[in-house]
């Protein structure tokens, strides 16, 4: 099957700044694909290169097998939902939505009836004659969506489309976007710096940092098996225990403690052990019912935060602090600041990540 978007060896430099650094990316047809990364990592630049608003410095960019890397935006079968929508303020909703079809030479009547249908699709019937300024943020967002979708693009690009909405509307729109994408079967390339949004909505996620692609995978892969420190830290919360590989089954932590961790890395490789707060458990040390010493460390509670449905314990180890999050279960023992404790985890829940 040909990929909806296939990016090979693409880089983009702005003067001395390398905004995108030699990335390879394949987005399948009908896929909901998220580009995730911190501010300034090159997400928007990547999206703009797919749209044709910036030309790559080098590399190949294919849409359904056709090389488009050097085509102007009006010659590419993709459309964009811009970060702040970029609706034309001098046109009403209907004319905004009909714009793309008109520019492709569709006659006015056809363009308008198609636009009306697209406006219905995003549930804005009756708003056709309003100007963008007379719409709420959520409504403007829908107009931007209709304006792009009415052209039946092969790929829809969305640059933080929900960034400007408040939390509730944002969550509502996440669901709607997702179901709309499923119905239409068009690939969506979705830029966000919100990892939770990326995890809940996407089929696959690409994590970027400083212009480089660090990892591509399903939300589960990214969360469970991050390839390096950055990804582990950026997606969700985690504790990173540094150490070196001792053999295929053991890692030596910086304090000298040996813990079990399977890997095929050569002995001596510097790594970090990523343990999610909710995957670790906390135990009173003096109870003697301590867990297997092969996957536990000792420490002292320095803070307990009550979250209602959960409790977060900050535990001070000899060389760092870690967090343990437990469901608020009345049957579990309670811990107070100063308690000597042991923090343990299931060896399969600890991911070995490259230490950089």
């Amino acid at each position: 099957m040909t990929a909806a978007v296939e990016i090979t060896g693409v880089s983009k430099r702005f003067g001395d700044v390398v905004a995108v650094d030699d990335i390879d990316l394949r987005i399948d047809d009908g896929e909901f694909f998220a580009l995730l990364g911190p501010s300034g990592c090159g997400k928007t630049t990547t999206l703009r290169m797919i749209a044709g608003l910036d030309f790559p410095t080098t590399g190949s960019l294919k849409i359904f097998g056709h090389e488009v890397g050097t085509l102007p935006p009006n010659k590419r079968p993709v459309n964009t939902v811009f970060q702040n929508y970029a609706l034309f303020p001098h046109m009403n909703v209907l004319d905004n939505v009909a714009f793309g079809l008109r520019m492709q030479g569709t006659d006015k009547a056809t363009a308008r009836s198609a636009a009306t249908a697209a406006i219905g699709l995003v549930r804005l019937d009756g708003m056709e004659r309003r100007r963008p300024a007379q719409l709420s943020g959520g409504q403007q967002q829908r107009v931007a969506l209709a304006r792009a979708l009415v052209n039946e693009p092969k790929v829809l690009l969305l640059d933080e489309p929900l960034g400007a909405l408040d939390l509730k509307l944002r969550q509502e729109m996440q669901g709607e976007l997702k179901s709309l994408q499923r119905e239409l079967g068009v690939s969506f390339v979705f830029v966000t710096h919100d990892q939770e949004e990326a995890l809940t909505m996407s089929d696959r996620i690409a994590v970027m940092d400083e212009g480089r692609l660090l990892q591509i995978g399903t939300p589960e892969e990214i969360y469970e098996r991050p390839v390096n420190r950055f990804v582990a830290d950026f997606i969700g919360q985690t504790n990173l225990l540094e150490g070196t590989v001792e053999d295929g089954a053991t890692v030596c932590l910086v304090n000298g403690a040996r813990v079990a961790a399977r890997s095929d890395l050569t002995a001596g490789t510097r790594i970090a052990l990523s343990i999610r707060p909710e995957r670790a458990t906390i135990h009173h040390r003096d109870h003697g019912t301590g867990p297997d010493a092969g996957s536990a460390v000792d420490g002292e509670v320095v803070a307990v935060t009550y979250l209602g449905n959960a409790l977060v314990h900050r535990v001070k180890l000899d060389w760092m602090e870690i967090e343990v999050r437990e469901a608020n279960d009345p049957d579990r023992p309670r811990f107070a600041v100063g308690d000597p404790v042991t923090v343990a985890w299931d060896p399969s829940a600890a991911a070995l990540v490259a230490d950089r």
Partner: protein
């Protein structure tokens, strides 16, 4: 200033002084204008002395061939210089706001100079320039030299007004148009141009006004048969004031007022259009 609570509002004498100052400034702005209008209807030959109501001076104005000729010259020059400077000034504004190119900064600075340079200096510049040019090419001063000079300062004013408009416009709108299959020209024609139109119109009105107003530069580059209204009136004033000047001044005043009203209207078109549109239905916004 963002709304401030009572604490920082001046109180007592300060507040009273602020208010008094404001009224005095407005009085200062408008009293002379009002008096000028009043005395233009005065029957006394001595301007500034009331002598019963009359329309004589306006009749003189209407029948004075010199005044009429000067008015015609002024309007012709203003129209010509406005048309040219609007085109060049708008293109310059677009280039500066939307592109980078070699010599951009020099151009930017050069564009500022005609705005801040004193009239007299610019007048001298144009006089010497045309003296030299006439020596080489042999033409006589008149419509051409005046219009060329007016364009030289009007380009700058137009570009300033249009640039302000462009700077306030999201440049992603043009990208959105391109993304929606518009060619460069279509994006300009259907998105950029309609959005900067109030600025272009405002710039045009400013250029027209400045051209109609100019005395000093025009006086230096005018030639036989091409006396403009301000130059003619200035000449009259220097010889001695007459009630006819009063009447001419009031007519010029009215023209200025009409232009202000127009310029205010163009700045409001946008908002008004929105309101009409919401009620009446789709408009010509769609290409």
């Amino acid at each position: 200033m963002t709304a401030v609570g009572g604490v920082t509002q001046p109180r007592g004498a300060t507040r009273w002084l602020l208010r008094a100052n404001t009224w005095l400034v407005y009085g200062f702005f408008y009293a002379p204008i009002v008096l000028l209008v009043v005395f233009s209807f005065s029957g006394n030959r001595n301007v500034g002395v009331w002598g019963g109501f009359t329309l004589d001076w306006y009749r003189d104005f209407a029948s004075d061939g010199n005044v009429q000729g000067a008015l015609r010259n002024s309007i012709q020059i203003a129209v010509a210089s406005t048309v040219v400077s609007v085109v060049l000034g708008t293109a310059a504004a677009l280039a500066l706001e939307r592109f980078t190119f070699r010599g951009r900064q020099v151009f930017d600075a050069l564009l500022y100079l005609p705005i801040i340079i004193p009239d007299v200096t610019m007048a001298v510049m144009m006089l010497l320039f045309f003296a030299q040019a006439a020596e080489l090419l042999g033409f006589s001063k008149g419509f051409g030299t005046i219009t060329l000079s007016h364009i030289a300062f009007n380009i700058s004013f137009v570009s300033v007004v249009v640039r302000a408009r462009l700077a306030g416009m999201d440049d992603r709108l043009e990208e959105a148009a391109r993304d929606l299959y518009a060619t460069r020209w279509q994006a300009f024609r259907h998105v950029t141009l309609p959005l900067i139109m109030p600025g272009v119109a405002g710039g045009a009105l400013l250029a027209f006004t400045l051209s109609l107003d100019d005395v000093v530069i025009t006086q230096f580059v005018t030639g036989p048969g091409w006396t403009t209204l301000p130059v003619y009136v200035f000449g009259l004033i220097r010889k001695g004031v007459t009630p006819l000047i009063n009447a001419v001044s009031v007519v010029m005043l009215l023209a200025s007022m009409a232009l202000v009203a127009l310029s205010l209207a163009t700045q409001r078109v946008r908002g008004g259009q929105d309101a009409i549109d919401a009620r009446v239905g789709p408009d010509q916004g769609l290409p």
